[in-house]
């Protein structure tokens, strides 16, 4: 039975009518406006690009209809593990749009950018305090870039000490960006076994630690949502061999005001502002991935560094380019400033007590879900979890219902699905991160839905296999999309 909802199925090109337009441009107010007279012929496009010709009404209606085909945090519970889909405060949006921020060119004279530079300097200082690190670079455009920056700084650190180390140790429970970023930085990745609950296998770690290892990269809490309790021992083991320890900060929402990577012995960590610090996910980005370091890595920070001091702009703030040992730049300018404004606004809104309460409630909410669901789904590990829990749909798989099926059924029941099939070390993994901004009522509704699905698995699995039925499209043919890729619209001949 298909609950038919007439789906809107237009692309903007299909709304085109020759001669329609939505723009408003003034006439030229300067003499000689014919480009054919100004530019050599070979530089002028022979034929116009095939772009839409639509009215403003067409544009508004089309994109409004498209938006209605999305689930967002503003409309749905979005328990994606490790993504921290918390509420995106609207005050952040207003502040990012202030003309003095949004309409500021990156190359405006520094003396005329003091407000922006001050915001960046204060945010870096706040993130340093939150993480227990000594300095923070706000330049990386996303978590993966933050990882790359961190690993490159570690590389530079070893080289500066006259050592060329070739390996980085990464647990098999790690997010894919960890080995990808590491390989990009020129290291070979050595995968370590994790214990079943995601803890570091200390024996495997000890066996692999040697002076050819540049770094050990872990997520804390780990990707099963558990705090690695032997962390001091781990960082000491690493430091004894000169190995730097990197913390993937994806799970920072669990530990704000509770513990700090800098106090646990980490040398580097990155932040995902689009996770912990509420900058919006935007359908896939932009993010922002600042990276925090201990003082011994400071010479290698990306340039420029935002500094405050007596020499700069009459006691104010400046961009310091004089960093001869820097790893260089990750992006053209100074960082995703628009996202930095949002994160700054959030931190000032919450204050120290508010941030602590964020993590406490995130942990509470995840444990509540774990408790309500542990009867129907396998836990991946004993004991309380932190801000997310990982369940296995192993029992359901035996009856022919996979984690993916469960995810699709949840869409019909009005929820976005949790993460599935990550971490790789848990069979039929369902990783659930509710975040602190959800209410008990919502959590109960979600748990009721999950329990309903567990019942349906036993009594009437067909409705799960057929899911989703109520979304604008039903299950899509991924094989066709990959075998015969159609990656752009073309006009019908």
């Amino acid at each position: 039975m298909h609950a038919a909802k007439p789906a809107y199925d237009k692309l903007i090109f299909e709304l085109s009518a020759p001669g329609r337009f939505a723009y408003s441009l003034p006439d030229s107010d300067v003499p000689d406006s014919d480009p054919a007279a100004l530019l050599p012929k070979e530089h002028l496009r022979a034929s116009a690009a095939e772009l839409p010709e639509v009215s403003e009404v067409d544009v508004i209606r089309h994109y409004s209809r498209l938006s209605q085909m999305n689930y967002g945090v503003d409309t749905h519970f979005y328990p994606l593990g490790s993504c921290t889909m918390k509420y995106n405060p609207k005050i952040n949006e207003d502040m990012a749009r202030l003309a003095g921020f949004a309409r500021l060119h990156p190359m405006a004279p520094e003396a005329a950018s003091q407000g922006a530079l001050q915001l960046m300097h204060e945010l870096a200082r706040d993130l340093a305090e939150i993480s227990g690190m000594d300095e923070v670079s706000l330049q990386p455009a996303a978590g993966a870039q933050g990882e790359l920056a961190g690993v490159l700084m570690i590389r530079a650190y070893h080289l500066a000490r006259g050592e060329r180390r070739h390996k980085v140790l990464i647990p098999d429970s790690a997010h894919g960006t960890n080995p990808a970023s590491t390989a990009l930085a020129g290291f070979s990745v050595v995968e370590l076994k994790s214990e079943a609950n995601g803890d570091v296998d200390l024996v495997d770690l000890e066996r692999h630690l040697d002076e050819d290892v540049a770094a050990f990269m872990i997520t804390q809490p780990n990707t099963l949502g558990l705090f690695e309790s032997r962390i001091h021992q781990i960082t000491e083991m690493c430091h004894a061999k000169g190995v730097q320890v990197y913390m993937d900060g994806a799970n920072f929402n669990a530990i704000l005001g509770i513990t700090r990577p800098g106090d646990l012995g980490f040398d580097v960590c990155h932040f995902n502002l689009h996770k912990t610090f509420t900058t919006p996910h935007g359908g896939g980005g932009p993010g922002s991935g600042p990276v925090g370091i201990k003082a011994h890595l400071a010479p290698f920070l990306p340039t420029p560094v935002v500094v405050k001091g007596p020499d700069s702009n009459a006691g104010g703030y400046a961009l310091d380019w004089n960093r001869p040992q820097s790893i260089g730049k990750l992006q053209a300018f100074w960082g995703n400033f628009g996202m930095l404004v949002r994160a700054y606004t959030y931190i000032r809104t919450m204050g120290p007590d508010g941030l602590r309460s964020v993590s406490e409630n995130a942990v509470l909410n995840a444990n509540y879900i774990l408790k309500r669901l542990e009867g129907d789904y396998d836990r991946s590990a004993p004991g309380p979890c932190m801000h997310e829990c990982v369940l296995s749909a192993r029992r359901q798989k035996k009856l022919g219902v996979t984690a993916m099926d469960i995810a699709k059924r949840l869409l019909d029941l009005g929820f976005y699905a949790p993460s599935t099939y990550f971490p790789l070390i848990v069979e039929e993994a369902l990783m659930i991160e509710p975040t602190e901004t959800e209410s008990k009522e919502t959590l109960d509704q979600f748990c009721d839905a999950m329990i309903q699905i567990a019942r349906e698995t036993e009594s009437s699995p067909q409705v799960i296999h057929d899911a989703p039925l109520t979304t604008p499209v039903r299950r899509l043919d991924q094989t066709l999309a990959a075998r015969q890729p159609v990656l752009r619209w073309r006009p019908s001949p």
Binding site: A7, D9, F21, A22, Y23, L25, V30, D32, S33, E42, H43, L44, A49, E50, L51, P52, V54, V59, Y63, S64, S67, N70, G72, V73, A102, R103, H105, M107, A112, L119, A142, A144, G176, P179, A180, A183, L184, I231, G257, T259, P280, G282, G284, P286, G287, T303, W334, F337, M339, T345, T349, R356, A407, Y416, A417, K440, R474, D477, L487, R488
Partner: protein
């Protein structure tokens, strides 16, 4: 706390269900010596009105382009942003959605990215574009890595006409793989093709040029494409897509990969970020492309739908063998660009280019009339040009701030050879009045 829904009573209920007496019981795995024993040393929480006032003050310290005539370029431009864009991208279903891994619940995002890919392919004249990279510079860095993967060659020749900040990012990215970068110098503002030929060898994976280049000059893309291809190298062109409504797309001139900064297409300047990295390539290179790709398909009822596809290139599957480590695209900025291109459309985008170039040429003429001021290069230019000044550009810039003019980007920091030069950008937003006022102020400043 307004973002946390649970009341103390509800927290108690939940703890009871869990069987814990307090949240501390849930933190039991954290060893006591790891626990922070004091509150975070951060400023206290601010009420909304106080916070707004504080941020308005900070914002007020900056020379926003609303209060100054902005002639700054160098990779970020004051192009007009049509009013519908902000309204549409502020719809919560767009900006609070996640990456479209569950495509059935993300058709809005996926369809708009498919449209975006189409538009970027059209503008650049290439077969396929991805869902975006972080910015123009990181996009170029990814292209460098891709050229190496495709050709197996380990060096690149980068024209000195490419934005020096982009070059720095490429240097950072090629450090790990150990690729070598060589330069092709400029002659009168354009890549010196004789020097370029000499720099080529069977070790060069790609030649990189920018069109228009960093100094505003229009390179001979076709000529350089032929030289690169003769040597077995790819041609990578850095181009600003908003210009390609009027200028010949690099794809039509032989480019193998086109990258660039799409910020001009409706994305606020925002002190340099977030930006929009455009990445487009020829069909045969598609499986080596970094970043997300959205493809068309059908669902079980035969209805058209869209999905992320060719995902096995990406980090979440390939891990250390991935084409790149990239895990986001700048989806919201790509959406701004998609809506922008829909609004401007076939003719509007062309008109933006016409206005920009005619105003830039007018400005160059008027400024060039000032004694001691001249165009540094004689090569044709589009919306940006390099001005040589008889007085220190830094001092001129400072003086013109008083006239509410952001005069241009001084080039000394990029290359001491141009320490007397100023890079001036003129978009469709600059009026004749603003340009005349700029000229008058400059005349006084250098007299």
């Amino acid at each position: 706390m307004r973002y946390i829904s649970n009341t103390p009573a509800q927290q108690k209920e939940m703890l009871a269900t869990i069987g814990a007496s307090s949240i501390e019981d849930l933190l039991v795995r954290i060893p006591p010596k790891a626990r922070l024993s004091r509150p975070l040393n951060l400023p206290r929480a601010m009420a909304e009105t106080d916070l707004v006032r504080h941020l308005q003050r900070l914002a007020g310290l900056n020379a926003a382009a609303d209060d100054y005539a902005c002639f700054l370029g160098a990779g970020s431009y004051d192009h007009a942003i049509p009013s519908p864009i902000n309204h549409l991208i502020s719809r919560g279903e767009f900006f609070t959605a996640y990456t479209p891994y569950q495509p059935e619940a993300s058709q809005g995002t996926l369809r708009s990215i498919f449209e975006y890919q189409t538009m970027m392919a059209e503008l650049t004249g290439m077969d396929v574009a991805n869902a975006s990279i972080y910015d123009g510079a990181s996009s170029l860095a990814e292209a460098a890595l891709m050229a190496h993967a495709v050709t197996g060659r380990d060096s690149l020749v980068i024209s000195r006409g490419v934005n020096p900040l982009y070059r720095q990012v490429v240097e950072t990215y090629v450090e790990g793989p150990g690729l070598k970068l060589k330069s092709a110098p400029l002659g009168d503002g354009l890549t010196d093709v004789d020097a370029l030929r000499k720099a080529l060898s069977k070790h060069v994976a790609a030649v990189v040029i920018q069109y228009p280049n960093f100094f505003g000059c229009l390179e001979d893309v076709r000529g350089i494409a032929d030289i690169a291809h003769e040597a077995g190298a790819l041609l990578v062109v850095v181009a600003d897509p908003i210009n390609l409504g009027l200028l010949t797309p690099p794809g039509a001139s032989g480019a193998d990969i086109v990258v660039g900064e799409g910020q001009g297409l409706g994305v606020p300047m925002s002190f340099g970020g977030p930006n929009l990295g455009v990445f487009a390539a020829k069909q045969e290179l598609v499986r080596r492309m970094p970043g997300r790709l959205v493809g068309a398909t059908v669902d079980v009822d035969g209805q058209r739908g869209f999905v992320l596809t060719l995902q096995t290139r990406e980090q979440h599957i390939r891990r250390e063998k991935a084409t790149s480590n990239i895990c986001t695209n700048v989806a919201l900025c790509a959406l701004m660009a998609t809506i922008y291109v829909s609004i401007l459309g076939k003719r509007g985008l062309r008109k933006v280019g016409e206005l920009a170039t005619s105003k830039a040429h007018y400005a160059a003429r008027e400024l060039g009339k000032i004694p001691g001021v001249r165009l540094r290069f004689s090569a044709p230019f589009f919306k940006e040009f390099t001005l040589q000044l008889p007085k220190s550009p830094e001092r001129v810039i400072k003086r013109l701030m008083k006239d509410r003019v952001l005069a241009g980007v001084p080039l000394k920091g990029f290359d001491r050879a141009y320490k007397d030069c100023l890079l001036v950008a003129v978009t469709e937003k600059r009026t004749k009045e603003e340009i005349d006022a700029y000229a008058a102020a400059l005349a006084t400043a250098v007299a």
